[in-house]
Symmetry: C2
Subunit: 375 residues, 2 copies
């Protein structure tokens, strides 16, 4: 397999994915839960050892990697001119609920550490890199004004305005999840009350549904929100006269809606309404033409959600809301790899990949456990 | 007075201002209420005749104008590739309260009409042109990430991100006044319920205060919101046992606050809180460094408003809200002229104007009544 080779690193709140590619396609893909213990170099050390492991699998040396694209959850800060991660879902010292993150980091020195090891590195927040990939290979081709939104556990976004990606002073534009939509609403992981992520994310849908009652191993159609934990993240079982009360996931709520559960309908309609109102706000600010929506909450349920979102969006100021298009994310499960790769991809690769779409033939990922020994 | 000459046209919701300048400074300035009767060419005809009048006053011919900068209220639409105004405060056919706008226009063909008459014309929304002027001559010098916000009868804005103005598909970015902040809030002129303009603008402050009771020609300290008109725009007198109930303006409410009126304090604190929450939203999306705030509501009361706005803003997600600066608009009453002029100003003028600040010595404006005869 001929070089040059590129590495793609996708850092999320729960796992890190590393891929190696040459012009013909993706050669290997590895993922592993993100390492949140130890000092605040743990994440960069993990990235480096995963790149090393992926290189070994490809049969090349790390020194044969000509550039690394890093797509990562944010937000970012700048420390001594270099980008640091100040992400509350990775840094225990920033999180509002410290017990779930086993460290006290206040920042992760991503750029300074990785650029000590690698010559050519390009880091962007996962919103910007996703919209860049969709614009290069997916649903945003040829669009000068386009916003990508991921509707998943959380809500994130990236935008091109007037043909250019917008970044802002620390590379955090646009963090759409943190626009306010109501007074005194539920609390977001970021500490805001009543922002879009707190009202419409997958976590919010699970929280708002509460729990379902399971009796004798089969799910009952009777649902109750009483005696429920807040986040829908940890399952808590409460046995009362043989029945089990169990926290649901967002996907459970959609399945309940498909079975005609009225509470699920109401919770999802509410989330879709707030999601749409968040889009009204970002459209008022960016005057966009196309919204590309991705993320597991949306992609798994788009036939339910898209009509709801469009209906609410179109109720807003027509001079701004008309002529806006909504498209599902086209790259879907390939988005993470392509988002990181496109940050460093040479033009001749881009042309070849647009034509041949080699990501569709990528090998199955190698899944590493938390305790895998890496050099 | 030597040429070349530039014309600056500032189209607002209530008046049009035209100035003529050469490299030494502003030579003449004329303003007149905006003509809202007749067909939808009335506004462009008025602009043309005002430019003609201003040229006469300067002793030059219209053909000596080398370029015209037009700064105008929006929003914009595109019709046959050319910019049209679709502004509900000018076009009766778009307004939700038609009785106050004496026409049924749905758009004003600004670009096609003006470019038939003038060779070189540059039209921008007043937010973009204002932030461009503040960045060139005022409080935004050297800033790559800066947002200008006008807090006045309405709320408007313009933004530079990564050193470039953002425009969007129709040139409407960023229309910050129309971001949603609450569910089911008061109605904005644009038709939205619960957006920033409906909650924090001068009109909102007057509406929320309601009316004051005047007895025997002196203003009583007793205030009441009962029996009040909605908008605070038209004064309605209701005489009950010798007392007069009168709608207030936003400025009245600030004066009442200065006298210790608790209701005025509460209304203004509320408006400032929503204004700040709107800034949180635009900052989440643009990751800006500097907010420049102008407009009559803010500039006349900034010592009251700025601490309130900062306090609420700083309650939001610290990773995004810290390191954001707030500055008052530096160009103030000169902003309209400079905003329109800077759109077409050659580089050598810019350097000379930055050094000599000739706008500070501009002549007093000539005020024309609605019925003034212009060619």
């Amino acid at each position: 397999m001929d070089g040059p080779y590129l590495a793609a690193v996708d850092i999320g709140g729960t796992k890190i994915t590393v891929s190696i590619a040459n012009i013909s396609g993706i050669l290997v893909k590895v993922y592993r839960p993100v390492q949140l213990e130890g000092d605040n170099l743990a994440v960069t050390t993990q990235v480096d050892s995963m790149v090393g492991y992926a290189c070994e699998q490809t049969g090349i040396g790390k020194d044969e990697i000509s550039a690394i694209g890093v797509s990562t959850c944010g937000p970012f800060g700048i420390r001594d001119g270099e980008l640091v991660l100040v992400a509350p879902n990775l840094c225990g010292g920033l999180a509002k609920e410290r017990e779930i993150i086993p460290n006290d980091w206040t920042e992760i020195p991503l750029q300074s550490e990785l650029s000590r090891i690698y010559n050519k590195i390009h880091i962007e927040n996962d919103g910007i890199s996703a919209v860049t990939a969709e614009r290069m290979f997916g649903a945003g081709k040829g669009e000068d004004n386009v916003v990508y939104i991921t509707w998943s556990t959380g809500i994130g976004s990236g935008a091109y305005v007037d043909g250019r990606p917008i970044k802002g002073k620390n590379g955090n534009a646009p963090h759409i999840g943190h626009v306010y939509l109501v007074d005194d609403g539920p609390r977001c992981g970021c500490g805001n009350f009543g922002d879009m992520e707190a009202l419409a994310s997958g976590v919010a849908i699970a929280r708002d549904y509460g729990s379902k009652v399971t009796a004798g191993g089969t799910t009952s159609e009777d649902m109750t929100a009483e005696g429920v934990t807040a986040e829908g993240v940890t399952a808590v079982d409460v046995t009362t006269e043989g029945a089990t009360t169990e926290c649901v996931t967002a996907e459970d709520v959609f399945n309940l809606l498909r079975k005609g559960d009225p509470k699920a309908e109401s919770v999802i309609a509410n989330a879709a309404r707030y999601f749409a109102r968040g889009l009204v706000s970002i459209n008022a600010i960016l005057d966009t033409r196309v919204f590309i929506i991705g993320g597991s909450v949306f992609m798994n349920n788009r036939h339910i959600l898209l009509p709801m979102v469009k209906e609410e969006f179109c109720k807003s100021f027509p001079a701004l809301s008309k002529d806006v298009e909504f498209r599902p994310c086209a790259l879907d499960s390939h988005l993470g790899d392509l988002a990181a790769l496109c940050l460093v991809m040479p033009d001749d690769w881009v042309r070849q990949w647009q034509e041949k779409r080699p990501w569709e033939f990528a090998p199955e990922p190698i899944v590493l456990g938390t305790n895998s020994k890496l050099k």
